[in-house]
């Protein structure tokens, strides 16, 4: 029971990490690829804990294929339909992100790490 609780807590923290990461990208230009291959670019307006994304000044990348989507200007994208988020490399501090993921995945003190040492 405790184990399950720990798992949910750690996965929650993991989601929180990416939530925080996306929050640092607010105001930046990103491209969101949906699971139906539609790619929307726009300025990241906001993000929430489910990684739902709000974009402003939206453009459809394959405009000739999806002319009906040019009506999209400001949109809310449900996190569950997102396949990729493409980010300008200059907008990401990869070292900071790597450090953060390491910290998130390091076992708690007195946990598995100390057992492994024995």
């Amino acid at each position: 029971m405790i184990r399950v609780l720990y798992l949910t807590r750690s996965s929650l923290r993991f989601i929180q990490l990416f939530y925080s990461f996306f929050k640092t990208l607010v105001g930046k230009e990103i491209a969101v690829e949906l699971k139906n291959d539609v790619v929307l670019t726009g300025t990241l307006h906001s993000v929430d804990q489910y990684l739902n994304i709000k974009l402003t000044t939206v453009n459809v990348v394959n405009r000739e294929r999806y002319p009906q989507l040019t009506v999209l200007k400001n949109c809310f994208i449900r996190g569950s339909v997102v396949r990729y988020v493409q980010i300008n490399p200059g907008d990401v501090d990869t070292e900071l992100l790597q450090d953060a993921t390491r910290k998130e995945n390091s076992p708690p003190v007195g946990g598995k790490a100390s057992e492994a040492k024995k």
């Binding site: 699971k35 906001s46 989507l69 569950s80 339909v81």
Partner: protein, 106 residues
């Protein structure tokens, strides 16, 4: 910071569903799962070999699972059954392939 739909409440919105349909209507209600209540809604069906067709749906509840994208504004094709191909109000004369389904949603 949080992405909510509050700013679109009582406004016209267009919803792209997971099966690739476009439904416009007035957003009357929503919750944190993106379950939506749309009033006076209509679907616009696009196809390659005929002009867009407007289908009146009335009051519509969309379960959040089926929502892909929600956008402000509605698709402007002429009212009445079937869009006419001659108008130039933006959405009118567009012919397009249907939008694909969201893969692995079911």
């Amino acid at each position: 910071m949080a992405s909510t739909l509050s700013e679109w409440k009582s406004k016209s919105v267009t919803v792209l569903t997971c099966d690739g349909r476009l439904i416009s209507g007035t957003l009357r209600g929503y919750d944190q799962l993106q379950n939506l209540v749309l009033q006076k809604s209509h679907e616009v069906v696009y196809s390659v070999d005929s002009p867009p067709e407007r289908i009146e749906l009335g009051l519509f509840v969309v379960r959040g699972d089926n929502v892909a994208v929600i956008s402000d504004g509605e698709i402007g094709i002429a009212k009445g059954v079937g869009g006419d191909d001659d108008d130039d109000d933006g959405g009118g004369g567009i012919r397009a392939e249907p939008i694909g389904e969201i893969a692995g949603n079911r």
